[in-house]
Amino acid sequence: MGILNRLSKAQKRKLFSRFVLNWMPILSRAQALEHEFSQIGLKSATQNYTLNTSTDSKHGVNTYAVFYAPRSDANTNAIAMLLSLGKLFKRCSHFSKDIIFVVSDGQAEGLQAWLKAYHGNEESTYDRTEETLRVRSGAIQAALNLDFAGTGDYNALGIFFEGVNGQLPNLDLINTVADIAKDVAPVELTLHDELVPYTDNMTKNYINSLKKMLYMMKYQAVGSPSGNHGLYLKYKIDAITLYGFDKPGWPSQRYGFQRLGSLIESTVRSLNNLLEHLHQSFFFYLLSGVRRYTSIGLYMPPVIILGVSFIFQALSLWGVSSDLPLEVEAISKGEKTAVGLPYSRRDRNLKVPATIIGMSFVAGLASFQLLTTEFGFPGETPMLKLVASVGVCSMLVISAVSSARVRNHVLKSADKKDNSASSGELTPAVDWIILKTFILALSALFVTTLSALNFSLAVSIGVIIVFPYMVFRPSRFIGLSIVQAIILLVISPPGLLLMASSFYSMDVSMVLGWALQEYEVLGTWLLPAVCGIYWPLNLAAIVMVLMPVS
């Protein structure tokens, strides 16, 4: 690197980082970085990892360096920045915490391998190999993920904060960066990578904020992180991504290396001043702007109302399946019996609906197993597996509907025979009523419990199913039942998959492959939740609308 000596230090680092990132093979790249870190005087090391998923195989090398306290953590791709900061921190004596610099390889899987090994969870199976870390420090308190493409200047700084399965970092971390970007190192700060001008039109401002919030909810609902910071959150480490970008024509002041450095240094120092984890603030929030949040107290009531609407209808149907209708009839006829009538004299026949619900869950879990297992026969693709699971599910629907109809037929003909004899016996409520009660009760259960884990996913599932599940019921006109079944098919997982892929004009197999990949690499809950919860209820609902009316 003789030529480099003539350039200024900052230029040298920029050139080096470009060289390292773009042209060197993985292993020598890691070694070069390790060398640079140790040049600065930091204790550095590399880590190999391999990850085999059902569709792909990934290998890479992570590099990291620990700055031991005179003690924090920072992960970054902006290598030049990292090296400079390393040098700067080395000169500072006021740090009371260790700072770790991680340059991870590949996409999320590289950092995940590092995090696993750091917390002592490294595996060495055929599917996953993560090398044990040689250099270590204490428990990580917070992390900053730096994403600065290119070597030029930027005029805006974006914050990405959505983690795996919709987990969020403590709001104070975002507030800290927002404060610093206002005073200490003035830069134009925004959420994600979009700048929306503030206008005089209030309605327009509201809609812009709403768009921001929906954008965030989208990330949360699918459960994939919006950046590498998302992986830290799984380990109780608050983390955000800082993303530098250039928006042409935006009037804000441009900033370069220098100001960015002081922003990061101030943030790291703020974190350094903390005595413990950030915890006295918000973990449950929706952001519609850097300085504008919606707290859990405001956004939870709608999802509770959604859940309650399911429960209320389930309760009323449960009442209908008991003596309630008879009681009402008795009152209308002017009989005095209504007062003394105990509850539930009419037997509820739970066997048929319970079997259908049970079978639907078995079918959903079977589809999940089908999708995630690698069978190893030639020509095996996720698409083929999806077709197979749709086959399993449709088989269930067909067999359940046909047996329900046959059963109804047999019961009716038996009923006709001893019509004269049966006088006092009360006929139990029809099967579909109980089945619908079950579906509604379970929907309420899942929507409300899921909202504690991942609000956005729960609310999007709730909004999709609330109308069909509440309104739909078998009809005397077979055509109407079929129309309902078709609508339910549209909102079934394969239907939604088709719609999503046509909306984003992507190939269906690509979307499916992506969902599988996210589950296998990052362990997101979208696929298990859809197959284990959403699909079974949808199957049961389809069976319900096709069941005999009486």
């Binding site: 008795a330 105990p342 509850y343 419990t449």
Partner: protein, 312 residues
């Protein structure tokens, strides 16, 4: 006692089969139960996951702590000294010879499950009385689905002994009034008292729920008088789903806190209390109908009474 017991105890042997098929059905049910347990033991991860759930393994039921106690005892250390082991000395004696062999331990659990099932079956056949109680006061602040641990982490140390007594009184204070009032229904008393214990004891787990839910079908004749069965089922489902979720948010993610988990313990407690109230109501209502049948002349009002009961 064991997580295994909790899952499947109340499934099979409680069905009332007609006399003709009874013996063959019983064999089928018991062999299915045996096969199911043997199959479940083939998933070691399942055992470790369930063993780590706070709803299932409490300080006085945890197998891990039992193993530790046996280990200490075997190595000549007094097991009760360390503050880790709180289980009954008899359990220590029972597991001392078998714990080194996993097969024997599994066999012990399976056999005890089957024995419990068989006894429940015998009870349904002869409907005789049998109830036993044994509780001891403990002092360990591990969170669980119970109603009391939260108070003790909030409380000043000097009040603890007093409140331990106050809370523990709940476990047995109901025994006298319930036994007097419901003296004609010994089986129901057994059910009700085990529910009371399962609700108010210091370290309840789903094992306690499996006990009273296992005893409940012995009084299946009162089911049709129950008014809140749907509500109770829902409360149990919500608490069993939300408990692990809130535990996860509190302990693993760090975004929740102890209040979340305790709130679910309260929901579970409410479910148990409504179950007790509703079953007691149902039993009394049935008694009332049996003792005061409607006037034979008043056809209309007899419409609401249960014919079978009135005829008795």
């Amino acid at each position: 006692m064991a997580q295994r017991t909790a899952e499947t105890r109340n499934e099979g042997p409680l069905k009332n089969t007609p006399a003709m098929n009874r013996s063959s059905n019983t064999t089928a049910v018991f062999s299915t139960a045996l096969a199911l347990r043997l199959a479940l033991f083939q998933f070691p991860t399942l055992v470790s996951i369930l063993g780590g759930q706070v709803e299932i393994a409490t300080p006085i039921t945890s197998f891990k702590r039992l193993s530790e106690g046996v280990f200490l005892y075997r190595n000549g250390v007094p097991p009760y000294d360390g503050g880790v082991f709180h289980q009954a000395p008899l359990l220590l004696g029972l597991f001392y010879p078998v714990i080194s062999s996993p097969i024997l331990v599994k066999l012990l659990y399976i056999l005890s499950d089957l024995a419990i099932g068989f006894m429940l079956l015998r009870i349904t056949q002869i409907k005789d009385r049998d109830a036993a109680k044994d509780e001891r006061i403990r002092h360990d602040l591990t969170p669980n689905l119970g109603l009391f641990w939260y108070f003790f982490i909030e409380m000043f140390d000097q009040f603890r002994p007093f409140f331990i007594i106050v809370f523990q009184i709940h476990v047995f204070i109901f025994a006298a009034p319930i036994s007097i009032k419901l003296r004609n229904h010994p089986l129901f008393v057994a059910f009700l008292l085990s529910t009371v214990m399962g609700t108010f004891k210091g370290y309840p787990s789903v094992g306690d729920a499996s006990l009273y839910l296992g005893l409940l079908p012995l009084c299946s004749e009162i089911f049709k008088y129950m008014r809140y069965s749907f509500l109770i089922a829902n409360l149990f489902m919500y608490s069993s789903l939300l408990a692990p979720i809130f535990w996860y948010l509190w302990v693993y993610v760090g975004s929740g806190n102890a209040n979340f988990f305790y709130a679910i313990g309260l929901v579970y407690g409410i479910g148990e209390i409504i179950l007790m109230i509703d079953t007691t109501y149902a039993l009394m209502r049935r008694d009332f109908e049996a003792q005061s049948p409607p006037q034979p002349s008043d056809e209309a009002s007899s419409h609401g009474w249960d014919r079978e009961v009135v005829q008795k």
